[in-house]
């Protein structure tokens, strides 16, 4: 009974991303097979699975970064806030402003911390003449990623000289200035040590209040720790999707069980 109750609560969540029959091909390679699921707003959704299962590819469907790959072809529908973003007339610039991405390796530009953070505003030609406003936004953004106290006196230092954890947070801060609604995180901690990883996870819990987060990870413990819902992917298929706790304690699919118990992967 309790389980049913939980599920009915779940159904009331606002779903912000909704996929319908999504297939993706790289040339002849069928990388995503008939993906159907929904991602809840202001929750953390984790995608797990062995390398090459298509979880990063799926992530890159949501901001259409797969468009950059030659020979990639997507069919089906992905609705974000009701709009099918796979439609030909989608405004990619707006989509990517709304759906931001954090990459596997921290990738700040070899510029100052300040210049890195306001990079997105330079692109979008916002406040370029108003130094005070830029400063204010940089401050907000650094505060949001819990770096302000550490770095407030070093804003003109080279961002590439920071620790990897700080670099990754700078990358998140750089993303926040363009006011995204969804944050896609592609194994954001795979280059970090456990302590830094814990701090990033802490930050994710903080960010969840304002943003919807989709994280791809091959660290199962991480998915279990941070996420509200988890999807298990294998060979391009979404094998199972649901409440994180349930996926890790009572998976319904044999293949999920094999993976989370360590028989595969």
């Amino acid at each position: 009974m309790i389980i049913f109750q939980e599920d009915s609560v779940k159904a009331m969540d606002n779903k912000i991303i909704h996929t319908e029959n999504v297939d993706l091909y790289y040339g002849n390679f069928h990388a995503l097979k008939n993906i159907n699921f929904s991602i809840a707003e202001k929750k953390i959704t984790a995608m797990i699975g062995p390398s090459g299962c298509g979880k990063s590819t799926l992530l890159r469907v949501f901001n259409r970064m797969n468009d950059l790959v030659e020979g990639a072809r997507v069919t089906g529908e992905v609705k974000i806030a009701g709009q099918n973003i796979l439609a030909g007339n989608t405004d990619l610039l707006n989509l990517r402003k709304k759906v931001g991405m954090v990459f596997q390796r921290p990738n700040p530009f070899p510029l100052s911390i300040f210049e890195n953070i306001v990079f997105g505003l330079k692109i979008h030609q916002m406040y370029q003449k108003n130094k005070n406003k830029l400063m204010e936004i940089a401050e907000q953004s650094l505060k949001a990623v819990l770096l302000w106290d550490e770095l407030k006196n070093k804003l003109n230092h080279l961002a590439t000289n920071l620790s990897l954890e700080q670099q990754q947070k700078i990358c998140i801060a750089r993303l926040l200035v363009v006011k995204p609604e969804i944050l896609l995180m592609d194994e954001p901690c795979s280059a970090l040590d456990p302590i830094s990883t814990a701090r990033i996870e802490e930050l994710m819990q903080e960010l969840k209040k304002d943003y919807t987060i989709v994280i791809v990870t091959h660290n199962m413990q991480q998915a279990a720790r941070v996420s509200d819902e988890t999807g298990y992917m294998l060979l391009g298929e979404l094998v199972e999707f649901g409440d994180t706790q349930r996926i890790f304690t009572a998976p319904t699919d044999r293949r999920t069980e094999d993976y989370i118990t360590g028989r595969l992967g």
Binding site: L68, K97, M101, F103, P110, G120, N161, R174
Partner: protein
């Protein structure tokens, strides 16, 4: 039977010898030119007009001429080369057209400089009726250094990590904005280096300016882009072969000035490169 240890020693000595043989000509050339040229260098030599049929006085018009020619070549070749490199590196797909363009650039780099001279004579001096002028000479030199600039710009663009482009695009920028803000600034040092090497080459070449601009003897400074000028490499040729009884120190002095300009350009290029190499971390 020679022991392996001895074989090794002999091989090592041979390799060392070969390496020294490379340095030797450079050292000897520098030594001879500096030794014979230095006595000819004076403030007067650098700032005066040539006198008594180039057998005395200075080489100012040749220095100024070379300066104008190089400047003109860069003004023409730098934008064209960088824009072409951006197209080739960032936009063009691997089609037969882009392969053809790449092939053309490689071939352009291999064309003997005297052929560029003839080409300039036919096109700029003759067809466009610029006459023998700074304009015609600059354009000819510009075309000659174009492949250097394109090739080094492409290398510089290609060495900018793909992740910079991805980040920029993922923040909602257009491709052009990405190139402008996330790629070009980081490729600039490499582009600059290539340009300076191109300048060095343009300053030293004789054949391309031979038919298009260089004056045998013109003891005044140019007034417009349609004037002829003297230029250092051609002046050196004239002094060495066309005018009898030129004092050795004037000839070597001219060579020393030319060599210094070219080496200085290369030195600046090396300094820029090492400065930015220390700075970039990716």
């Amino acid at each position: 039977m020679i022991s392996p240890r001895l074989t090794q020693k002999i091989a090592f000595s041979l390799l060392l010898l070969a390496t020294l043989m490379v340095i030797l000509p450079v050292a000897v050339v520098l030594f001879i030119i500096v030794k014979n040229g230095l006595p000819g260098i004076s403030w007067e030599f650098l700032t005066q007009m040539p006198k008594s049929g180039m057998r005395a006085g200075g080489i100012l018009p040749a220095i100024i001429g070379t300066f104008y020619l190089v400047l003109g070549a860069v003004v023409f070749a730098l934008p064209l080369g960088v824009l072409a490199a951006i197209y080739l590196s960032e936009y063009s797909k691997d089609s037969w057209m882009s392969r053809l363009v790449r092939l053309a650039i490689i071939n352009l780099a291999g064309v003997p400089s005297v052929v560029f001279g003839l080409f300039g004579l036919a096109l700029f001096v003759g067809f466009f009726k610029f006459g023998a002028s700074i304009l015609a000479g600059s354009l000819t030199l510009g075309i000659m250094i174009l492949p250097v600039i394109i090739t080094s710009s492409r290398e510089a663009l290609d060495s900018v990590p793909k992740s910079f482009r991805e980040v920029s695009l993922s923040l909602g920028s257009t491709k052009l904005q990405t190139i402008k803000y996330a790629v070009l600034p980081h490729a600039l040092p490499g582009i600059l280096t290539g340009t300076i090497l191109g300048i060095g080459r343009a300053a030293g070449e004789t054949a391309p300016i031979l038919f298009t601009v260089a004056a045998f003897y013109l003891p005044r400074l140019p007034h417009s882009a349609f004037d002829q000028v003297m230029a250092l490499p051609y002046h050196l040729y004239v002094l060495s072969t066309q005018v009898p009884n030129v004092d050795q120190k004037i000839r070597y002095g001219t060579a020393l000035v030319l060599l210094t300009i070219v080496l200085l350009m290369n030195l600046i290029a090396i300094m820029i490169r090492s400065y930015f190499r220390g700075k970039k971390k990716w």
